[in-house]
């Protein structure tokens, strides 16, 4: 199972390398004053990506170290990951303070806190961020569209 996963990961990197090479093909080539040009480095990297990914896949097939010790992606990790992505997506819409308070509240609840401590923690941290970043460091935090 681990070898299959490693092979899939390697294939993913091969795909990434091919897509990168395809995009690099649209870059201008070398000029007299710049013998390598903007495209050479991406081409070299694309090829390196594909060669290394194939090596990784081959190592997985041969049962080498390339496939050893893959840690399964757990469902609760994915929940936290989606929560973070939703939080970041909410920042330009709801503003930093509101989305942060909501995220902290949800995060604390998910982590096992009760409603009241989680709520106090969320509000307290949102105020602290406002004091430190907006008032002390003069960072204009996103206010959102709402």
């Amino acid at each position: 199972m681990s070898a299959v996963k490693s092979l899939l990961i390697a294939l993913g990197f091969v795909g990434l390398g091919l897509a990168y090479l395809w995009q690099a093909s649209g870059l201008p080539a070398a000029r007299a004053d710049d013998l390598l040009g903007p495209a050479t480095m991406p081409f070299a990297l694309g090829i390196a990506l594909i060669v290394l990914a194939i090596t990784l896949g081959a190592a997985a097939l041969a049962g080498g170290a390339g496939d050893a010790g893959l840690v399964p992606v757990r469902r609760q990790h994915l929940v936290v990951l989606l929560g973070i992505l939703a939080y970041v997506a909410a920042v330009p819409l709801a503003g930093f303070k509101a989305s942060t308070a909501l995220f902290l509240f949800a995060g604390a609840l998910w982590g096992g806190q009760r409603v009241v401590p989680a709520g106090l923690f969320a509000i307290g941290m949102a105020i602290l961020f406002h004091l430190v970043f907006e008032l002390l460091f003069r960072v204009a935090l996103p206010r959102g569209l709402m």
Binding site: G64, A68, V73, L141
Partner: protein, 507 residues
């Protein structure tokens, strides 16, 4: 001489000294809290340094680096939960001693041996860095290209996991680096028409995402050991070692400091390796090796001194060559860039005062770490009780505000989150993240030196092998990769195929 005095004076200004103390305190907290690494503590503080002058900013961050190394031992000794990977070895004898009711003595040994080891690293830094910088000043573009390639190769080779994964991670970092304006002729690459991508991927946002987000995801619902509701008492008087104890730990601490310094100089190694090597050496040298693992003072002193020796060692290639020795120094390299300073031999020539300021503040941080740990141990122990359910969401919020504050851009938050997700999956798939971070830092100058070399040589690729220094560095890079490849395993894997496919092959 004027630069030396100016550097020392800048490090002795009150705001710089206060920043150093604050950094040490935050570093001890970051090091002590399981799941919060020193690198994470540093990246979360980076946005705070935007408005600070170079001396104050570097004091703050070097304080975190130095304090973090000692902080890691607090949770390792008291709770047997190492705050940092390099504190794992400290926990073996430290926790045994704490279980016998000598927690204060164990922490005291850790503090003082860290102090001794740290000075060994500092002395090496002060003596070797200017010499190495002077040698590196004679390097041209081909040598600098070869040097950066070697640095990247070393880190990819020595990273945890297979070398193929290390190299792949390095290439992924370089791929990310190519997004934005081309560094030589200013052509847009891989921007997909996005104005925000023209300036490239902010490596600070990338660092925040790669270092912090995977830890948040893994830490929020961690099933690891939980701190007890009442951590053990650590009396102040116990932390002051007797003359006999000091005499017993002095020699192993000096040795371990030297081992840590040597390990730190090699890019990509770090405190965990140094701690293991120093522990082993201390056991060999000890008059009571049977006590190791059962609460031996030398067993605590050696890994702790090695950890702190690493800090000085790792700063040598970082400051002189621009190649970070470990993940925290990669962040320090980024902090210098924020200040408009580029680590490397030219830093010693053009900004010598800043360099000597850093060396001085590094020494000050060692005093602060001892003073703060001794006086604030009760507070630091209380910090260990902060529940993960509050700590990690707060860290996630800090990553968002930190990445936003770099350029006041929400786009950087998306970049940070995207790379954080990538970092999480790569962590689970056992890919090292350090090569990606290093590629982001070294990628642009690497490409620039490569292209400049070819322009100067009129397109002659042999320029890299005709110049002895660059040829030697490139040969070393190739050897480094070749030495790490699993030749024997490949030969074993291929053997049945070769035998089977050969008609006359013998079994």
């Amino acid at each position: 001489m004027g630069d030396v005095v100016q550097g020392i004076l800048s490090a002795l200004q009150w705001q710089t000294v206060v920043a150093s103390a604050l950094g040490c305190a935050l570093g001890i907290v970051a090091g002590a809290l399981p799941g919060i690494t020193i690198s994470m503590g540093l990246v979360l503080l980076l946005p705070v340094t935007f408005g600070l002058d170079p001396a104050t900013a570097m004091s703050l961050l070097i304080g975190v680096y130095t304090g973090g190394m000692t902080g890691g031992s607090i949770s390792a000794i008291l709770l047997n939960i190492p705050g940092t990977p390099s504190a794992v070895m400290t926990g073996i004898d430290g926790h045994e001693m704490a279980r016998r009711g000598q927690a204060g003595k164990a922490i005291g040994i850790a503090i003082w041996s860290s102090f001794i080891g740290g000075w060994v690293g500092w002395a090496a830094l002060v003596l070797l860095a200017p010499l190495l910088a002077r040698v590196a000043l004679s390097f041209g573009a081909p040598e600098l290209f070869a040097l950066m390639l070697l640095g990247m190769t070393v880190i990819c080779s020595f990273s945890e996991g297979s070398i193929v994964k290390g190299l792949l991670a390095g290439v992924v970092g370089l791929v990310i680096m190519t997004v934005g304006m081309d560094p030589v002729v200013g052509v847009e690459r891989f921007t997909f028409g996005q104005v925000e991508l023209q300036a490239g991927i902010s490596f600070l946002a990338a660092m925040i995402g790669l270092f912090a987000i995977p830890q948040v995801i893994l830490g929020l619902r961690s099933e690891g050991p939980r701190p007890p509701s009442r951590p053990p008492e650590v009396p102040f008087s116990e932390m002051l070692p007797s003359l006999g104890d000091l005499r017993r730990i002095l020699k192993p601490s000096l040795w371990a400091g030297a081992i840590g310094t040597a390990v730190g100089i090699v890019p990509g190694t770090g405190g965990a390796i140094a701690a293991v090597l120093a522990y082993d050496q201390a056991r060999r040298m000890s008059k009571a090796p049977q006590e190791f693992g059962k609460g031996s003072p030398e067993g605590i002193a050696a890994p702790e001194a090695a950890n702190d020796g690493v800090t000085g060692g790792a700063l040598i290639p970082t400051l002189t060559l621009g190649i970070p020795g470990d993940p925290p120094t990669a962040v320090l390299l980024g902090a210098l860039v924020i200040q408009g300073l580029y680590a490397g031999p030219l830093l010693f020539e053009r900004n010598a005062a800043v360099v000597y300021g850093i060396l001085t503040t590094f020494a000050i941080a060692k005093f602060w770490t001892v003073i703060l740990t001794l006086l604030g141990i009760k507070a630091f122990v209380q910090v260990l009780r902060v529940p993960a359910s509050m700590l990690f969401p707060a860290v996630a919020a800090l990553t968002v505000v930190g990445s936003y504050a770099i350029r006041n851009s929400v786009f950087d938050c998306f970049i940070m989150a995207g790379l954080g997700v990538l970092g999480y999956f790569l962590t689970q798939w056992r890919f090292p993240l350090m090569p990606i971070v290093l590629a982001l830092v070294l990628g642009p100058p690497l490409e620039e030196h490569l292209r400049t070399s070819l322009v100067i040589s009129g397109g002659d690729v042999t320029t890299f092998i005709r110049r002895p220094v660059s040829a030697a560095l490139l040969a070393l890079a190739v050897l480094m990769v070749a030495a790490q490849l699993p030749w024997r395993r490949w030969a074993r894997a291929l053997a049945p195929i070769t035998v089977g496919s050969s008609p006359g092959g013998r079994p």
